[in-house]
């Protein structure tokens, strides 16, 4: 018998807060810069003289004028209206690996040894951070089987772009780039595996999944390869949680055709100590340090998409690469075939410090436990979810899923008219972060994609499932309630018709003024 779980009463803060540009009063100040004392004033020149004329503003910027407490109040209110990851059971954001990141690691990145160094310092004076990065590279080499790493990419897609650039350089050096201009990917790989090589100038060939297995067919791959094939860029397990057990054969087909294989390991949380890029035959790979390795993420950073390569491709890595001569760490710039820099300096080093601490805390066995627990959590979640009327699992013949699982609310929508966007909006009424539907296009209709990482307890999963169960029940009993959600949140349902209308978008305050001219009051009181 199912345990009855009582859902908590919840209401978000609702401040109806204006945009800061609409706040304040003329002349209101947060801080008054003191005048220079007479002698100093005499000895100095007007600062504007040092600014090139062509970049000097002719008019003062129209900035809001506010006192300190008003600014503080405003941003605290906004933060209260944010349903942060640490506030809720954030299982719904599949592919994002929203795991708990130990707060103690934040202490490390606040240490002056890290905050007070400068990237332009001589390498001999920053041996500590270089040692941490070199050591972490040693760990991640063991995890992946790859031979050399770079930490420069500032995010997952950036790492994948770096991989595409390495593939491009490899063919360029081999004088085959003109001919080899096609990258093969799969529909359920991350869209970055198509978008990044496209940005790098490649044509993209996408393999569609078999409707029964949810996986691409090796025969489809064979029909896609040719002497134009530059490489394969693929995610595994794919964004359905299904592991492509023929991955080594896929890699062999590409190698046979003269291409390179790039492994998108954003979904690596299920594979620590279980499967490695090297054994599958991959040439390059990337990890999202900010996801599986427990550096906090969201709000777009700071992130790190480390890239690892086999020895034969190490000459193409971005410069500099950290090397060790047995006594000192150095920055190696002497790589004539490098793809160049993909970001300034060494990358987001604080992300590496957190990840290093996390891995040392877990140990090798602990890392394997991470993956085992995450897989058990996923399959426990599946078992519970499939008892909810209206919820079905995509590709049901694939019974075991790894880090995540793609469900479909198609039946719920057909029965009640309530679709996945509606449920995702309703879930926030229970203090639970909205979920990720899936990347586009929706090959699985009305999809959603939870990922219950290892840091969620059985109770957490049970509670999350109870919320979904409750909403699906509401859909059958009172669909309008779900369709008009959210009701307990900081904002109500917005008019979606404007969302895809460029005339209604305003990416800047100036654009907002232009598009709403005459329809708003400026300088509203806070």
């Amino acid at each position: 018998m199912r345990e009855a779980i009582e859902l908590k009463e919840y209401h978000a803060h609702a401040w109806n807060e204006p945009i800061i540009m609409e706040m304040g009063h003329k002349g209101e100040r947060g801080f008054i810069i003191p005048k220079l004392e007479g002698e100093i004033e005499k000895a100095t020149d007007d600062a504007t003289h040092y600014i090139p004329k062509k970049i000097l503003r002719k008019k003062m910027p129209k900035l809001p004028e506010l006192s300190q407490p008003h600014v503080l109040r405003h941003y605290l209110r906004l933060s209260q209206q944010t349903l942060g990851m640490a506030l809720n059971i954030d299982i719904g954001m599949g592919t994002c690996t929203m795991k708990y990141s130990p707060i103690i690691n934040e202490e490390l990145i606040k240490l002056p040894q890290l905050t007070d160094i400068h990237p332009y310092q001589d390498e001999i004076t920053v041996q500590g951070i270089l040692e941490i990065m070199y050591e972490f590279a040693t760990i991640i080499k063991e995890i992946s089987g790859m031979d050399e790493f770079t930490f420069q990419p500032g995010g997952g897609a950036h790492g994948i772009y770096t991989n595409a650039s390495i593939i491009r350089k490899y063919h360029e050096v081999n004088r085959e780039l003109g001919k080899r201009n096609e990258i093969i990917t799969t529909l359920f790989s991350h869209p970055a595996d198509a978008a990044c090589p496209a940005t790098a100038g490649f044509k993209i060939i996408t393999l569609y999944p078999d409707p029964e297995t949810g996986l691409p067919d090796i025969e489809a791959l064979k029909s896609a390869v040719s002497n134009r094939t530059a490489g394969l860029m693929i995610t595994n397990p794919e964004d359905t949680g299904i592991f492509n057990h023929m991955i080594d054969e896929f890699v062999a087909v590409i190698h046979e055709a003269g291409g390179l294989c790039s492994y998108d390991q954003a979904n690596s949380n299920a594979l620590f100590g279980i499967a490695r890029a090297k054994e599958a035959g991959f040439d390059v790979c990337h990890f999202n340090i900010h996801k599986a390795f427990s550096s906090p993420h969201g709000c777009m950073g700071p992130a790190c998409g480390v890239v690892g390569v086999k020895r034969e491709l190490a000459e193409f890595l971005p410069i500099p690469v950290i090397i060790f001569d047995g006594s000192k760490y150095h920055l190696d710039y002497d790589r004539p075939n490098s793809i160049g820099k993909v970001r300034q300096f060494l990358g987001n080093v604080e992300t590496i410090v957190r990840a290093y601490a996390w891995v040392l805390g877990m140990g090798a066995e602990g890392l394997m436990k991470v993956s085992e627990t995450s897989v058990i959590n996923t399959n426990y979640l599946i078992k519970k979810m499939l008892t909810i009327p209206g919820v079905i699992m995509a590709y049901p013949k694939q019974k075991i899923r790894l880090d995540q699982v793609r469900f479909s609310l198609e039946k719920l929508k057909e029965d009640t008219g309530v679709g996945t966007d509606d449920v995702s909006r309703r879930i926030v009424d229970f203090g639970v972060q909205e979920y990720f539907t899936s990347h586009h296009p929706w090959v699985v209709p009305e999809p959603f994609l939870p990922e219950p990482c290892e840091t969620y307890s059985k109770n957490d999963i049970d509670y999350w499932v109870a919320v979904i169960r409750h909403i699906c029940k509401e859909a059958y009993e009172n669909p309008v309630l779900v369709k008009t959600a959210p009701h307990n949140q900081s904002i109500s349902k917005i008019n979606e018709k404007h969302l895809n209308d460029p005339k209604k978008w305003a990416m800047t305050w100036r654009a907002y003024i232009r598009k709403t001219r005459g329809k708003m009051k400026n300088n509203r009181n806070s």
């Binding site: 044509k203 060939i205 996408t206 569609y208 057909e414 008219g417």
Partner: protein
């Protein structure tokens, strides 16, 4: 001002199917269906949709035709319809559907909602063309057209969004097969034209995404790819469909939406050709065929483009077939493979397997053909 919704029900649509008659076109067949105990399907389908839209019925006027062509269902669902025209109760024909559609056109309704099958879609097309938005509720036996929604719930939502001006429209195929041939187990489907149907991107993407190109942009991208890669020593056989004809439009060429046109060096050399003309044109010349997915069933050969016959395909060769389609069109197949039915088993066999479908200027997909 109140919106205007037109409702046309083909009361006999689908009756043949329930008793194994593969369609209900023609009075004899209808009689036969009735004798076999066929019961009407359309009224239930109509009621389901009307129930979905009844909560905002104050916002529009419902125009319909008498008795079983919509009036009965509307009244049963507590609507207060404005009834047009007259019919011979119990003996409706396709002429009634056409008349009803013509009156809706005169009234410039915001949407013609029709309940029926491929035959009904043809009647609506004949009267309205693409001059008004229309939407089909499936109740027929044959469903080759792309103008129908999957369920009453989805229809309800689309109708609401269209009346509120929240969706755009797209052209969808009106196709029909020769029922007489079908009953003798021969399939022969024809592309009759295009109806303008409401188009909700949300079926394939979250409303919040906003980054997927529109159908028009996607077709243009594909067309430029084809045009930029055209070789002067090949003639290009451009099959029917809005996607393929975008190529002709981009080249500024006259074209036949429902037929097959031929170009060489980006100039038109033949318009709306039949099989014989095609065979003559490719005699001793290198040629490529450009086709797209026709209708809701995923056919690339054998439905709506029979001019490109097995003989033509054989002469040109599989390696010279270029299949183009937008990603949305492929998504709408819901994983179902593409199909071929040229009428020649050997040619069908040759075309089966995995093919490359061009979906953009620098992208393609690999998709299964059965």
């Amino acid at each position: 001002m109140k919106k205007k919704l037109g409702l046309i029900v083909n009361p006999i649509a689908g009756m043949g199917g329930s008793v194994g008659l593969k369609g209900t076109d023609g009075e004899d067949i209808l009689e036969k269906a009735k004798n076999l105990g066929a019961i009407p399907i359309a009224p239930n389908r109509t009621n389901e949709v009307l129930e979905e839209i009844s909560f905002f019925k104050e916002s529009f006027n419902l125009f319909t035709y008498p008795n079983e062509m919509g009036e009965d269902e509307a009244k049963a669902c507590s609507f207060d319809p404005i009834v047009l025209g007259s019919i011979d109760k119990g003996k409706t024909t396709s002429a009634n559907t056409k008349d009803a559609a013509k009156e809706m056109l005169k009234l410039k309704v915001d949407l013609v909602l029709f309940v029926g099958g491929d035959g009904t879609a043809r009647d609506i097309y004949e009267s309205v063309g693409d001059r008004l938005p229309t939407l089909g509720i499936p109740s027929g036996v044959k469903m080759h057209s792309g103008v129908f929604t999957k369920t009453a719930k989805i229809a309800g939502k689309l109708i609401m969004m269209l009346l509120r001006g929240e969706v755009t429209t797209r052209l969808a195929e009106v196709m029909d097969i020769d029922e007489e041939a079908f009953r003798q187990n021969r399939l022969s489907a024809k592309l009759y034209g295009y109806l303008k149907i409401p188009y909700e991107m949300q079926m394939v993407q979250s409303v919040k995404s906003g980054s997927v190109p529109t159908e028009k942009e996607a077709m243009e991208e594909i067309s430029w790819y084809i045009i930029d890669n055209m070789k002067d020593d090949y003639i290009y056989i451009i099959g029917p469909g809005t996607t393929t004809k975008t190529i002709m439009k981009k080249l500024g060429l006259e074209n036949t939406l429902l037929g097959v046109d031929v170009i060489h060096k980006r100039k038109l050399i033949a318009l709306d050709v039949n099989e014989a003309k095609l065979l003559e044109l490719i005699q001793g010349r290198k040629a490529k065929i450009v086709v797209t997915v026709i209708g809701g069933q995923g056919f690339i050969f054998g439905r709506g483009n029979q001019q490109i016959s097995p003989k033509v395909i054989q002469k040109i060769g599989k390696e010279n077939i270029i299949v183009i389609a937008t990603e949305n069109k492929i998504s709408s197949l819901r994983g179902k493979p593409l199909s071929v039915d040229t009428g020649d088993i050997k040619i069908d066999e040759m075309l089966r397997g995995y093919i490359r479908v061009i979906t953009g200027y620098t992208k393609a997909i690999i998709y299964k053909v059965v």
